[in-house]
Amino acid sequence: MDFLTAHGADLLFYLFAALALAGAIGVVTMRSPMYGAISLLLTFLAVAALFLLRGAEFLGIVQIFVYGGGIMVLFLFVIMLVNLHRLPEIKLFGGTSPLAGVLAVLLLAFFGYFFFQTHFGPGLRQPQNFLTAQGQTLGNSEAVAWGLYTQQLLPFEIASVFLLIAMIGAVVLGRKQ
């Protein structure tokens, strides 16, 4: 029991990291896009849990809402709309997959090299620094909102214009000719 209280968060990290990796491998290897989408949902939820474990409560919930809700419904809707199970997919991977494998191995070697070079040490997190704005302690959502509406106000407005443009673009693209 003492072990669990001391290392529960670490064990949860390993559990959710394994789930996220399993979902990601499922996305890439599943033949049916429907199973791929369900694997992707598994990855989204596991990543949301990993956000929570790193103190990003607001983003964890946003991840579940936006990815697990919005984007996943969009994917499932399109998969059902195009009705892919009637279409024969002759080969799972295209002719570029040896090249893609080489690219993946190169990326892994590149990142692995850096992990042998760098040591970040223990986290510098001090809760009183992490969650304060204007000298008072805030919750995570409040602190993120404070940042969004003060320092990052211009990017925030640009993001809303971007979403409007994306919505119009999607409607125009999906319209019947």
Partner: protein
């Protein structure tokens, strides 16, 4: 303990997700799967931002991740719109069939 989770653990997980996503983008023929792999890559970047936000005790990483999620939502909407257009035109979602510009 030896298995205490550090920023490096998050980075390793994030880079594994990134590599799997890049492999999916480059290797798969089905456009829906390619779009889902792009979402994997964006998610791995978000994981990185959160890990460094914790490491550096700075909220800017979390705020940037909000913008990444916004862009991911827009990208998914437009990408799936393009997919619908392609399906109307070709009756398929296989990327090899969209080769008008190939010389």
């Amino acid at each position: 303990m030896t298995f205490a989770v550090t920023t490096t653990h998050y980075l390793v997980l994030s880079f594994l997700l990134f590599t799997i996503g890049v492999f999916g983008i480059a290797a798969r023929k089905n456009m829906i799967t390619v779009l889902m792999s792009i979402e994997l890559v964006l998610n791995s970047v978000n994981l990185n931002l959160i890990a460094f936000s914790y490491q550096l005790s700075d909220l800017t990483g979390q705020i940037f991740a909000v913008f990444t999620i916004t862009v991911a939502a827009g990208e998914a909407a437009v990408g799936l719109g393009i997919l619908i257009s392609l399906f109307r035109l070709r009756e398929t979602t296989t990327l090899d069939r969209a080769a008008e510009l190939k010389g």
